[in-house]
Structure formats: C-alpha cells, structure tokens
Subunit: 347 residues, 2 copies
DNA sequence: ACGTATTACTAATAGGTATTAGTATAATAT
DNA sequence: ATATTATACTAATACCTATTAGTAATACGT
C-alpha cells in the first residue's frame, strides 16, 4: 500500500499483447473498441484479462503524439491567489473542460510580462489545444502576441482591439437589475454610489442605472450619483451616504457599486439611526458572500457570474477548437454573462 | 494577428533539419545544447536560423514519450471553488512547481468518490509524475487506493493510517501563538471560544491554548472555555461572549476559534458597551482578510498558511519524485506549517 | 468445385524526439 | 608515411499508440 517506489516502467500495449498472445494491433482494437475489426468475444476477454493482470493503462502522451489532439487547455492568469473569485472561475472552466474530456494545465504569472510569454511558450510546447487567459475585474489586458498562435479566450478581461473572443460580466444589465429591483420595490428616489476608477464596471453599471430609470420614467438626478473610493481612507461610501442623506430630498434607496461599499453605507445609515430596509433600501454588487451574509439585514446584491464565465470560456474555447477548420472566421465574439440578483433582506 | 485558423501541422525537427541542411540528430543536439557533440558555431547558427524561420517549437509530448519525464503534477481537489483559500493553495503549488519547470494539471471532483477515481485515472493516463491531493479545513480524507500508484502528497488533509505524506497547519502552535500574544499583552484571564466539531483544528487550538497558559504559569480555568457554533442559528459566539462577560470574574481577553466567530464576539462586546482592545482584547484565527479588515478595530488574528502549504506540497512532491529510487522509504512525513500572527489592532 | 466474402487476425508505419553507435574527414603525433 | 585522435557530423533505433494495408483460414453461394 506504500507509494510506488522506483520509476518502474509502466506496461505497454506490447506487454499486454505478449501476455495475451496477440499482436499489439489487436490490443489497440480491443482497448478502443473498434467495431470494424472483428475481434471475437473470447479474444477480447483474453486481452482484457491481460490488461487487468498487468495493470495496463493507455499512455495519453503517446496517443496524442499520433492524433495531435491533447485534450488539454491552458489556463493562464496573472493573479490567481489574490482574490476569492479566482477559484470559481477555475472551477467553471475545469467543469466545462471535464465534461468534454479535457483537462486544464494551469499557469500563473505575477503580471510579469516576460514570465507571461515564457508561460505561454511552455503551454504551447505542451501542445495545449487552446488557452484561457484569465484576469480579474473585467479589465483591459495586453497579452504577448505569441498567444495568437493558438485559439484563445479572454476571461473577465478584454483587449481594446477586440481581436480575441472574451467573456465578461454584463455590467449594464447588472446595474439595470439592481436599479429595477429598487424601483419595483416602490422606490423613486434612488441614489447610486459609483466607484471612482474609470473601468468598464464603473461606466457599465452607471449606464444600467440610467437605463432603468429611463425605462420607468424616473428623471435622472445628478445629485443622487456619488463617486467614492473603497477602503477607510479618502472619500468613501460612508461619507457619500452621509452626503446623500443630507440632501434636501434624500433618497429612499441606495445602489452601491459593490458590497464593500454597501458595508460602509450600512454603517453610515446605522449611525444616522435609519433602518434598512424600512427607511432606506440598500443593494450591492459582487455578492461577496462573507460580507453579504454578515451584514444585518442580509445584503441583497447582484452577483458576478465567475463560475459561469469560467464555464463559458472553456466551453467556447472547445467549440473554437472543434471548428478550427470551419469557413468564415467571423469576428471574435465578445460574450457577456448576466449578473443575477441575489435576494436577501436589504430591499 | 487573428487566432490561428486550421490545425496547421507544426514544424518538427525534421523540417528544421531539412531547411538547415543537417540531420535531425544535429538539430536535437543544437536545441538541447549537447556539449559532447562538437557542433561548430556556424552550424549552430544555421540551425537556429532555420528554427526561427519556421517558428519551430519542441514538442513536449514527443520528448516525454522518450524520456518518461513529463514534468507535470496532478492537482486534485474536491472543492476548489467554494472557499476563498483554494486559490492560494493552488498558487503556492503552482509557484513551487514552476520553479522547477513543472506544471499543474488540474482536476476537481465534487466529492463524488467515483468521479474522483476516474479523475485520478485520467491523471495517471496523462503520465503525471505525482499527485497533490487537496482538501480543505485540515480534514480526514480517504482517497481511492489507486492513488498509491504514484507519489502523492496530501494538502490540508490527512489519512488516518498516515500512509501518505501530508502538510497541514500547525494548529497547536497557532493556538499557542494566539494565547501567548494575549499573555504578552498583559492578560491573565483569557477566554477561548472553541468550535463545536471534533476536528484537528478544534483539538489542536485548544491544546495550544492550554500549553501557553501552562508555560506562563496561568492556571487553566474551565469556565473560560466556551464551545459555540458558527453562523446565526444555535448557540454562537455572540451568546458565548455574553456568558463569558457575565462571569463573576470575566475575561479581559478572548481568543476566538475563527474570524467569523470573532465578528460575533465584536458585536456582543459592542452591545455590552465594552471597547476593543481597551476593555477586552480579541484575537481570531484564519485571517479572512475581508472580515479582519472590515472590523473596527482591525482584527488581530492567526493566519492559515495556505500558500505555504501549497508550496510545500509541490516542493515535497518533486523531491519524492526525484528520490524515487532512493534507499529507505522512511515513513511518510507529516509536515506541519506554522500559522503566523497577523497584527492589527484588537489586542 | 470454384470464386467470393467473411472472419480473425498481423506487419508495417507514422508521429517527434533523444540517444547510441557509428562514419568520414582533417589534424596531429611519431 | 603511418597510426592516432579529434572534429563534425549521420543512421538507426526506441519510446507507445493508431491506423492502413494486408494475409491466412474458413464459410458461403451456385
């Protein structure tokens, strides 16, 4: 029962063939269940018995050397560890890959461009059939051009020239959903505390917010939109909430750019003696489970579909690989995945 | 610049050889920088030029077919996604592997034993040189026996018969460190709110707590140890804290089994009008960044060394692989990694 | 009885590389 | 001038599998 000592040569088809008294070809036919070769049941049995006896296992390397299909996807990311979402993206990708008998070969590089190129080079040497290039926070990336040598899907990121397919969260829909949820709960004075960095999430969620207001014939009021940073220093969501609640006509609901900010908003409202959701409704974004579960009342929020994005990336990549010889190389699809509402008790 | 269309055959050493006007053997010598073959500089240059020109890249599959070294480790886990720590373990393992030119082949199985065996089978077919079997929360696992076919390291888990090497957090030292930190801050009435499940963490941290008290000659007081569940329902840390603070001789410091519980303790102390750390010091465990950063004052806690454990697992596995033909198969090492203190402001 | 079809296999090869055992030529030693 | 050695290569093979093109034996049709 001890771990195997010594790199004992694993048995090959030839060993099986010898033991079963047939040719290697026959073993191959039996193993792969080739119908066209008429192997009678007794022979099959004999071969399987030899396989069992020797503990034979096909060698995927040798196999792919012939077929030039490795059933392996490269997954490269620049910061797997630092966010709690990374695991979900990986798991989504892994699940989709596994469903089609593919595995993920993992590499991550600390945003060091040189290392990144070396990593991709390594993946290519290992004959991955495609690459998932993952980043975080829906940002703009510029992978080394060598990546174009193989089908690639960008995960939670994009390149400005859109020359590679990508999958990102639908920020606009997310902002829309959050806002609409508040509207449907009866609110008409809805504030939005946006993030200060100029990234797609910032613009997208704002666009969704505006669109929802427009659709429900609520005039857009600039004073209800605040721009705050995250964290304890600088102008943050806590202060933004204070300002909002001191307006002549204060909001009855606040949509926060993310859950972290919603937490500060909770605190501010608490300090102001206002109750959630009775006096003011709050909705967040990101569905950071720890935060959302911890807050009282539980934070209603919009989730970032990390698992689904990972899933889609792998699934789409496999499709690209399958159709690699197909006719029109239509322009790379920029896929967007809906951000679902997660109901708790803050609205 | 578009992604490569059509599975164009990649150039091989033979193609390079033809272009450079040498034999495949010579190309191999040049590529691998074999000293014993006396290839003069001009010839080398000619070969490299041909390589460049064709965009030749060695084929790792073919290479490992001959050498039977794949430089690939399998990483199998049952629940990558569900915890924020998973990414760190993976990253640690990946970094250590990468340092020695190895890559991780990732698989995860939803605790379905059948799937698990299939997954390992797949890894073995792909000729991984070893397997990292990862779980979460330092638990007892029972991997399918097939895993013994290849060097294996257990990550954040163990098997009762200790027949496989493992790496886990040093719970005893962690509990000791937490307690000692409080002692050194001047406390002598130190409570411990333990977790109710009977797992190594529960017993280990308690043992560390007791040992620290003993070392500093503080008598162990059973009334200062509470057992609570996590989460909002049942007897939790909030209530435990209440009970502790209503003792005739209440504690001046509380060591909580984890950060989640510490959060409830914060709330209870807050409700009681006690200030942290002036009236009561609090220390947690796990270093869940989100929680620890959010709490005011920031929570001093003991970190679980997920990255380091992942790193050690890969590193040790590679060592096992290297020494696979070595003499004594000494009993599998059960390694333990220190849990470092993370200072914030609650002590 | 003879040609054809079916059954039950096998030999040979390709896929890309690393390595061993050469070989042919040039340089050096005696 | 001959033997030895160093230089600059190459031919052949092994690694393991999948596949194509066979072959030998039997069965079948008329």
């Amino acid at each position: 029962m001890a771990a195997q000592r010594s790199r004992r040569k694993r048995p090959s088809m030839n060993d099986v063939a010898r033991l079963a008294g047939v040719s290697q070809t026959t073993v191959s036919f039996v193993v792969n269940n080739v119908e066209s070769a008429n192997i009678p049941p007794e022979t099959r049995k004999r071969v399987w018995k030899a396989i069992e006896q020797l503990g034979y296992r096909p060698n995927a390397m040798a196999r792919s050397l012939r077929s030039s299909r490795t059933h392996t996807l490269g997954f490269i990311s620049d910061e797997v560890a630092t966010t709690p979402y990374a695991g979900q993206m990986i798991q989504g990708a892994q699940d989709a890959a596994w469903e089609q008998d593919n595995l993920l070969l993992l590499v991550n590089t600390g945003a060091d461009a040189r290392l990144e190129e070396a990593a991709i080079e390594t993946l290519l040497e290992r004959q991955v059939e495609g690459i998932i290039y993952a980043a975080m926070y829906h940002r703009s990336v510029s992978p080394p051009s060598i990546i174009h040598e193989v089908p690639t899907v960008l995960l939670d990121c994009f390149i400005p020239d859109r020359s590679l397919p990508s999958v990102t969260p639908d920020e606009v829909q997310g902002g829309y959903t959050a806002t609409e949820t508040l509207i449907k709960a009866g609110h008409r004075r809805i504030a939005f505390i946006n993030n200060k960095d100029d990234i797609p999430a910032t613009r997208g969620r704002l666009a969704g917010y505006k669109k929802a207001l427009a659709d429900y014939h609520i005039p857009f009021d600039e004073t209800l939109v605040q721009i705050a940073g995250a964290g304890p220093s600088g102008f943050n969501s806590y202060e933004a909430t204070y300002q909002l609640m001191h307006l002549a006509n204060p909001p009855t609901a606040i949509f926060c750019f993310n859950d972290r900010m919603a937490m500060d908003t909770y605190q501010a409202l608490h300090r102001l003696g206002l109750s959630i959701p009775d006096d003011v409704a709050v909705i967040g974004f990101d569905n950071q489970e720890i935060i959302a579960d911890i807050l009282r009342p539980g934070l209603t929020t919009v989730a970032l579909p990390h698992y689904q994005m990972g899933w889609w990336a792998a699934q789409h990549l496999l499709q690209l690989i399958e159709n690699i010889d197909a006719p029109a190389p239509s322009s790379p699809v920029q896929h967007t995945i809906a951000c679902p509402l997660v109901l708790r008790h803050s609205v």
